[in-house]
């Protein structure tokens, strides 16, 4: 995000789009509540009446899959009502004329049917946003997990540029990153087109710098971007990817369209899984490399506002496990590339030297409670809480903010009479990601457990003869799972919501891929499903329980049945 979490609390207006902080980031959501208490205006755009909508000045309950149509109507309103900041646009942006070419057909009155939002509300939302002294747009997966996610992000950025809401206190863009270190993984160059520090693999000078530091011939460096994770199953089936080294991820749970992931993993010659738990991905592996866990090692994470923070080791690992980077170093050495580190700090200092934007972030500066935001180019630099304070947007040569938007495209898999409901996948407040960690925590398991839930509006449920808390089948063109109906009047009619943490009520057996062409992020916010009631609820309860017990017993037995090979006499 361009701002800090502090700026969210101190902004005069929060424009919250496709982001349900109360479930995904409870402690970030507290900043929204605090902002409200300090008098900020809050506008929420979401198909569900999420927690933040309850304290909002305005709640725009848009149809699932209509993000871009609504944002284009916002841009239309800013221009037509001349609410935009003309001086800012003239000095710091380019592309204004092109914007109108796209949005001219998106008058608020023209998109009422597509978005489900009355034109007057659309216009009022922009008057509030443009009229605020400072405003932050917050967004989450409700924007990015669509086939048109990247284009939608650009159009949200256009709103900020049109109103001059960038580069100062309380004003900016805030995509709130999901996992505890997803920002860090990107910062460290775990991206197929970028070295650590967002340096391009296509730049020969950058390749040469890294090659020299790593003691290899620059000609050995691959100048082409690599493969994206979401494409691996298909490439494996085509025989183009033969070996897959998965560390600390569980694609069998977290990636869209599980059956396609399963076929992809089965097609590999070699699957190496390095993890702390026996997951549904790990059980398919050819080799399992057990690692130390959080709590058993130290290091640095990057949180969602670009802040580097250290974490320390609490306990000694009890099992025959190794630190992740030690395992990788041993494999590298065995392959003829000697690699050895004594501790985390040696690695950190190596990468600081190679990444100008992190150079000033030393272990000493971070200390126990410090939070240093990149860019931080020198040892004296305090870090950068707010990006773009000079209003130079250096991603392009002109340094001007790019005003871009695109025609709205409908989601790929629309509802039909056979599959009349939209399924959108969301987050569970008390569990995390693939649930291998939180599912093994007693208190969190007691609060919510298998087979998970499908949130449904009571009106839709009654039409289908479904009772609250009854077990139901949810079916898509790709699969069928059993889960528990959860009546929820905050959910819009015509759509149902499943949290992606459940292994029995596994929503990714149902989802489809329709990837964003730029990021290859699958459209997990939209596919067509049907719900079927189950007459014999006693049978359903014991069936769901049986699936759960079988799954747990199977994963336990994979570990317990592993024995040393019989020694030849």
């Amino acid at each position: 995000m361009s701002v800090s979490l502090d700026d969210i609390e101190n902004s005069k207006c929060l424009f919250v789009f496709g982001y349900n902080g109360a479930d995904s980031h409870p402690i970030v959501a507290r900043r929204i509540v605090k902002a409200r208490q300090k008098g900020a205006k809050i506008v929420v755009c979401d198909p569900r009446k999420i927690e933040t909508a309850r304290i909002a000045d305005q709640f725009l309950q848009l149809h699932n899959g209509s993000n871009m149509a609504l944002i284009n109507a916002f841009i239309y309103t800013l221009i037509e009502e001349e609410l935009y900041d003309k001086e800012f646009v003239a000095k710091y942006t380019e592309g204004f004329d092109g914007l109108w070419d796209v949005v001219k057909d998106y008058a608020p009155e023209a998109v009422e049917a597509a978005t489900g939002v009355p034109a007057a509300q659309i216009r009022q939302a922009m008057r509030t946003y443009a009229g605020a002294e400072s405003a932050v747009i917050m967004w989450g997966m409700g924007v990015t997990q669509y086939g048109q996610g990247t284009e939608t992000v650009k159009s949200l950025a256009a709103l900020a540029l049109l109103t001059g809401n960038l580069g100062r206190a309380g004003a900016g863009v805030a995509p709130v990153r999901g996992q505890n270190n997803v920002q860090g993984a990107c910062d460290m160059g775990v991206l197929p087109d970028l070295f650590p520090g967002y340096q391009s693999v296509a730049d020969p000078a950058i390749r040469e710098k890294f090659a020299k530091a790593w003691g290899i011939d620059p000609a050995q460096m691959d100048p082409e971007p690599g493969v994206r994770l979401s494409l691996v199953p298909h490439l494996a089936m085509e025989g183009k990817v033969k070996a897959y080294y998965i560390m600390g991820e569980d694609p069998m749970q977290t990636e869209a369209d599980t059956s396609s992931v399963r076929k992809g993993l089965e097609a590999l010659d070699l699957l190496v899984v390095q993890d702390i738990f026996m997951t549904k991905t790990a059980e398919m592996a050819d080799v399992i490399l057990p690692a130390t866990s959080w709590g058993e090692h130290s290091g640095v994470y990057t949180c969602c506002d670009r802040g580097f923070q250290r974490f320390y080791k609490a306990v000694e690992p009890k099992y025959n496990v190794k630190r992740d980077w030690e395992i990788i170093s041993l494999i590298a050495t065995e392959m003829g590339y000697p690699m050895h580190y004594d501790n985390d700090q040696q690695i950190w200092d190596e990468l600081r030297e190679l990444c100008p934007i992190y150079y000033g972030v030393t272990y000493e500066k971070m200390g126990e409670l410090g939070h240093i935001q990149w860019p931080c180019p020198t040892l004296e630099h305090p870090g950068t809480p707010i990006l773009y304070t000079d209003l130079k947007f250096t991603a392009v040569a002109s340094g001007k903010g790019q005003l871009l938007t695109h025609q709205w495209r409908k989601p790929a898999e629309l509802t039909t009479p056979d599959y009349p409901l939209v399924l959108s996948t969301v987050r569970e407040v008390g569990h995390y990601s693939c649930r291998s960690m939180t599912g093994n925590c007693a208190a969190l398991k007691a609060l919510a457990d298998e087979p998970g839930f499908v949130q449904i509006h009571p009106d839709n449920a009654r039409q289908l003869g479904i009772q609250d808390q009854a077990l139901v089948w949810v079916e898509s063109r790709r699969g069928k799972v059993i889960t528990r109906a959860n009546f929820n009047e905050r959910v819009n009619r015509g759509a149902v919501y499943m949290t992606y943490q459940w292994w029995v009520g596994a929503c990714n057996e149902l989802t489809q891929e329709n990837m964003d062409p730029v990021t290859n992020t699958p459209e997990t916010k939209y596919c067509a499903v049907t719900l079927k009631s189950i007459d014999d609820q006693n049978w359903a309860e014991s069936h769901a329980e049986q699936i759960y017990q079988d799954l747990k017993a199977r994963l336990r037995s994979v570990v317990e049945n592993a024995k040393p090979a019989a020694v030849a006499m």
């Binding site: 999901g178 690692a291 994470y301 992740d324 990021t519 290859n520 024995k563």
Partner: protein, 139 residues
């Protein structure tokens, strides 16, 4: 009793907390006064650490390196030395036969931290010779 300062391993909020350790075991989590969390935690922060003790409530921890010699047979537990040699040999063979781009690697957006992510992309780029390294930022 000792306290270790950590950052919560769940969402991206970056909440600082203390793990209180007694006799080598974590007994509770306390909120610390981090920049982002200002002395507060959510339910996952307070109650999300006992998985470390291998509770097996959902699935067991991995305690030993393991190899499956061919598809469908049970895993064998092996020494670290054997596991590392096996993986290195197989990667080298596959790289030799199908080229560096036939090998895919991932970092991790979760508990391992930035240092490991750096080392994994270095492994992909310097040792395998490919930019095939990615993380679950896409999902």
């Amino acid at each position: 009793m000792e306290k270790a300062t950590v950052v919560c391993p769940y969402c991206g909020a970056g909440c600082k907390m203390n793990l209180v350790v007694d006799n080598g075991k974590i007994i509770r989590a306390e909120a610390a006064n981090g920049y982002t969390n200002q002395g507060e935690l959510c339910l996952k922060g307070y109650y999300g650490w006992d998985f470390l003790n291998d509770t097996k409530l959902l699935t067991p921890r991995l305690r030993e390196p393991m190899i499956r010699r061919s598809k469908g047979v049970p895993f064998e537990t092996v020494s670290w030395d054997e596991a590392i040699k096996f993986v290195a040999k197989r990667f080298s063979e596959i790289k030799q036969k199908f080229g560096p781009r036939s090998i895919m690697t991932t970092g991790s957006s979760r508990g391992t931290g930035n240092e490991t992510n750096y080392v994994m992309q270095k492994f992909a780029r310097a040792v395998i010779g490919t930019n095939n390294v990615d993380c679950c930022a896409r999902v």
